[in-house]
């Protein structure tokens, strides 16, 4: 079994980092820069956590291929999480975790958290925005 995480997280300085990791090791990432004064504290994060049969991608190119092959499912997972979001997201240490209908042999959850209380619609818009830009963001990811 391999644990694959695709994550997107917004920093207080306005930067947004997107990353791809396998079994805890980061293979790909991209930081869309925020303000010139870096502030690494997070405002919110979204994870797509996949547990899949067999070995996960082991290199940058394999990770890119994996993302391309599964992009439709991953975008649908984000949209499904957005559709089922609660009205208010309490500021809590623990993220909301939503299980997604996944292919056989896979277990997939979308986890998201906001550090300050946010309107559910706001978090849903972050999920949908990522779904919409998923392919263009994925192409920017590099080792």
């Amino acid at each position: 079994m391999a644990k694959i995480e695709i994550y997107r997280q917004k920093r207080v300085d306005g930067g947004i980092r997107t990353g791809f990791s396998v079994d805890g090791a980061r293979l790909l990432q991209h930081l869309q820069a925020g303000s010139p004064e870096p502030d690494p504290a997070l405002e919110w994060f979204i994870d797509i956590r996949c547990t899949v049969r067999g070995k996960g991608p082991a290199s940058e190119s394999e990770a890119q291929t994996w993302l391309t092959e599964h992009s439709e499912f991953l975008r649908d997972a984000l949209r499904a999480a957005a559709d089922d979001i609660p009205v208010g997201i309490d500021a809590d240490l623990w993220p909301h975790i939503q299980e997604i209908n996944a292919p056989k042999g896979w277990k997939v959850v979308v986890a998201y958290s906001a550090i300050k209380r946010v309107d559910g619609r706001q978090m849903a818009s972050h999920l949908r925005a990522w779904a919409k830009q998923f392919n263009s963001v994925a192409r920017k990811l590099a080792a």
Binding site: Q9, G24, I115
Partner: protein, 135 residues
């Protein structure tokens, strides 16, 4: 390196106290594993480790804290070419300490150092600490 996310001390304290403090080494390890399972992968930084340890009030509590913390990857110690706290981290931490906010609130050394290391390693910090030095 683990996912680019670091749990600040207040998150670790939240995990520790979530269902009452662990009473055994096994419970302490399990608490950390449950936390990591819920939060997704991530790690800590060496000042966060020390800050957490500094809260121990007895030797037994210190042992439990060690068992809990051992489950977390210390990202600045794991980074092969950028190992540990470096001189540039102290320089950056001092720059942050010297930025007096309009409300005059004191800056905390650990928070400034955490921010400096996080910036260098390119990781983000999960913190609910209002005192975390802002940009």
């Amino acid at each position: 390196m683990a996912v680019g996310r670091v749990f600040d001390t207040n998150y670790l304290i939240g995990a520790w106290n979530r269902h009452g403090p662990p009473q055994s080494l096994t419970e302490a390890r399990e608490r950390a594993k449950q936390f990591l399972n819920t939060m997704g992968s991530g790690g800590i930084l060496s000042p966060i480790r020390l800050e957490f340890l500094s809260g121990a009030r007895t030797k037994q509590e210190l042992r439990l804290y060690d068992a809990f913390l051992d489950q977390f990857e210390v990202l600045d110690l794991a980074a092969k070419r950028q190992r540990g706290v470096r001189a540039e981290d102290w320089t950056e931490a001092e720059r942050l300490v010297r930025r007096v906010p309009p409300d005059g609130k004191p800056r905390h050394l650990a928070d400034c150092l955490i921010r400096a290391i996080a910036n260098r390693l390119g990781v983000e910090v999960l913190t609910n600490d209002a005192g975390f030095p802002r940009g």
